[in-house]
Amino acid sequence: MSEQHDHDAPASPYHTSDRTFERNEKLAERVAIIESLLTKKGLVAKDALDRIVDMYENDIGPMNGAKVVARAWADPGYKARLLENATAAIAELGFGGLQGEHMVVVENTAKVHNVVVCTLCSCYPWPVLGLPPAWYKDAAYRSRVVIDPRSVLAEFGTMLDDDVEVRVWDSSAEIRYLVLPERPAGTEHLDEEALAALVERDAMIGVAKAKAP
């Protein structure tokens, strides 16, 4: 948390570099006083506060991205908008919250397989995918997927034919990529909700394919 990396750093309002120890102690004291008073009044409880912090730190899942993919599979008009302007198309479904970054959706086909990495840190489209998995932040994945994507994909169990072109996309503070996986065969009869259940996080990073029904 302490290292500030301008590839992914929040804007200046979030910096606390100019906050002195004394100032911080005073702020902590103000918060402790409020917590003590509210606790006495029975309006807050430590367990409830801990639960809230845990929930907001962790509870944004890849289901949002799965809904985007399912809509694109089901609705050709939506898919066209998604490939044209992903940020706007994703906002149509009510997902947003990125702070100035643009989303770009790259489409997998029978001949092209896309995979996403952030080579410098761990830029990740969290409003649609939740928190990045540990391996996404790992130096080994970040360097190897660029040099030798086929063997990295093979380690994830994703085998590609030799004639499939692999494209590696490097996410950054400005652009966050999301992979639109190929719609699996035999899913013509499925509705959007059933389609979304086939789309897991790894398929939207591009290290896996969508599940078969």
């Binding site: 948390m1 992914d8 929040p10 606390t16 702020l27 409020i34 639960r51 912090v53 944004i60 919250g97």
Partner: protein, 101 residues
């Protein structure tokens, strides 16, 4: 399971000048008091003691006030403005006074 512990989109995905500071999706807290101040505001709103929009209005004001002189170098950090907003809404709603409970 997920439904029992779901972040409210109106809080988790605030737009404009008051989005929660995040780094690759993970909330950025520099000190534990920031977590406590965050959670108290959310907890009180969850109990219906005020509407989230009422808190957010105060947060927008506090952030704007901190950026008035120099937007690139605000006079206080995000959660300091958050704390100011919390203190204001507690006072406006008289949640700290002992006489009305």
């Amino acid at each position: 399971m997920r439904d029992e512990r779901r972040a409210r989109p109106d809080i988790a995905e605030m737009r404009g000048v008051t989005p929660l500071p995040r780094k690759s999706g993970e909330m950025v807290f520099h000190d534990d008091w920031e977590r406590r101040a965050f959670a108290m505001a959310v907890s009180l709103a969850e109990q219906g003691l005020f509407e989230w929009s009422e808190f957010q209005e105060r947060l927008i004001e506090s952030v704007a006030a901190a950026e008035r002189v120099d937007p690139q170098n605000p006079s206080r950090g995000y959660y300091e403005s958050w704390l100011v907003s919390l203190e204001r809404i507690l006072e406006d709603k008289r949640l700290l006074s002992s006489s009305d409970s």
